[in-house]
């Protein structure tokens, strides 16, 4: 393909590393589009999770390609942090929802200037 990152020998077969990278890139972009386009705050958070997952995939791919375990450990950390961030984000949303029913994140625009 457009990049030459070598091949991975997985259980006897070869797979191009590039495939994985492209998949991750596409997932990431789809997640980005979702964040930009969707208006339900919950869905936005979900799309952010999708992006994080794509990043994790990239990390693990490179970890396998470079045969260095650091990538997986980093992905583990990222996963943990993503969980924590999702928790806090949802907590904030719950707090906002106490005041009013937010169907459109554009309603939360009082910090304007």
């Amino acid at each position: 393909m457009f990049l030459d990152a070598g091949t991975l020998q997985i259980a006897g077969e070869s797979l191009d590393t590039g495939w994985f990278l492209y998949l991750a890139a596409i997932l990431f972009v789809i997640g980005a589009v979702g964040v930009l386009v969707r208006r339900n705050p919950l869905v936005i958070l979900i799309c952010i999770e999708l992006m994080l997952n794509a990043v994790n995939l990239t990390l693990v791919t490179f970890s396998r390609q470079l045969q260095n375990l650091d990538g997986q450990l980093f992905a583990l950390m990222a996963l943990t942090v993503a969980a924590a961030e999702a928790v806090v984000g949802l907590g904030i949303l719950v707090d906002i929802f106490r005041l009013r029913e937010v169907e459109d994140v554009d309603e939360l625009s009082e910090l304007r200037g």
Binding site: V105, S109, R112
Partner: protein, 645 residues
Amino acid sequence: MNWLPLTILLLPAVGGALLAGRGWRWPRMLTVIVGPGVVWLSFLAVLYGYFTDVNVDQSYWTWIKVGDFTLPFNLILDHLSLFMCLVITGVGGLIVTYAVGYMGHEDDPSYARFFCYMDVFVFSMLLLVLAGSFVFLIVGWAMVGLSSYLLIGFYYWRHSAVVAARKAFVMNVIGDIGMILGTFVIFFQFHAVTYHAVFAAMPKSDSGTLELAAFLFLVGAVAKSAQLPLHTWLPDAMEGPTPVSALIHAATMVTAGVYLIGRLHPLYDVAPYAHHTVAIIGALSALVAATIAIVQTDIKRVLAYSTMSQIGYMFLAVGVGAYAAAFFHLLSHAFFKALLFMSAGNVIHAMDDEQDMRRFGGLWRQLRGTSISFLIGSLALVGVIPLVGFFSKEFILGAVFSNPDPLSIWLWVVGFGTAILTGFYTGRMWWIAFWGKPSSSRPVAAPQEAPAVMLWPVLVLAALTIFGGALQSKTAIGFGTTLVEDYLRPVVGAIAWPANSLDVLLALATMVLALVAFGWAYLMYVPRVERRAAFLDGVAEVAMASPHPWNSRLPWAQTLLEHKYYFDELYDWAFVRPLDRLARWGDRGDRRVIDGSLAGVAGWVRGGGRELGLLESGYFRSYILVFVGGAVVAGLLVLWRASTT
């Protein structure tokens, strides 16, 4: 150290200062004493100087001393300036006394203001004639212009008065510029500005620089004396109270130009082009003014144009070198013109502030005293023996006639014609205002004669008019005295050419023809039904088949004269409108460009702030979009760097 000149100068200043500072709170009596009083005291000082034959150029204080250039504050009290001081303080004193009664209806602060301005004017005029250097001459010159402005616009709540005052001041400033530039030229040439130094160093032959200086001073003189072409302010100046018209615009300020040329005669004697121009301007002004006076309906305006005309005679005299003649006419004009203005003032006062002559009529029967004084003044103006006007006018015309210069004979013709016209318009004025039946539109049916305080100055002036001829009779009728000429000879020199034998004959001829014109006016302007001198009617029947007024035969002439030869319209088109446009353009520029740029900068800052504020819309999704956009840009940068390195 001779303190006399300074005393003469400062007495009116003290009066003016006191009235300015405290006068508005004084009782009227105090104003009456201080206002005219300081002028009379100054007059006494002048008399003292006359009788002790003072002749001094006294420096009181050195103002500037730079290297070898010194500018002192010096006052010159020689025969010429003493002569002028006599006129200023004497006639001025009479007029200011007259004003005590005339301005009586004003309230106290306004009354004090009037006398304050008058005192300031007298002080300024004295400074003008006493100044021993060009610099202080200009100071006095400018202050006189200021006083004139203040006094013309005395009734400042009247739009016409304010406009007239401004017009007078602007034209005076044009003259001031001429004076200042002339002084610069003098300084450039002589490196000194006192009369003493400059006249001592005056070269005997002409040069371009001297001509230039002479012309520049001429501009100043023309502006101040209301000669062509800077004359348009004088008729409008009649907006001021009548005593102001009498003092400033008849007796003193407008004669400053004559004094100037007389004082600077060493300069003009060696600058023949400028000198001739003086005479030409004088003659033309005299003629033009006389023609315009024929159609004026406001009695004060007739007198104003008459003043312009008589000053034209004075300019004519100094222009040919007959300085003593000019100053004698200045003196006599002061007498009879002040007399005329004050009598007119009495009439106006009696007629409840009406100034249109056509609404008078028949005052001879009701205001006998004023009518007689007005008649005396009028006949002096026409130049009838034995009044002083005859002697002074014929002195001038005789000197001009006998002058060997080839130009002079033409000037004499103009002067002669003007004298006849003078008779005509003066007659018209007198007959319309005083003779015949009272006009149907008369404001006051039974007018009262003026109070004593307004009458006795008039009587004094009438006496001076009647007997003043005794001062200088020889030049007009061939025998008698030459007191004025002799007195002024040390300063201005004698008349450099012999008198012509025809002088006396011509003098009498002029007088006769002027009187004929005076009578002609009777026929023209007093309607048939009102004429009481039946024999004159008979003459009229014989002389003219049907006496029509001239203006029905020449309507275009009537229009031309009524519009004063369209000078005002010309100046308006040439100067006022372009300046107005320029001012408007400047105003637009100022508002749009300067204010606009300042406001524009402020607007940009505000607008920029507003625009930037839009970035903080509060919409989370917009922010994210910007994130992504920024990430794209950053990524492109990285790529670009990577590709170039």
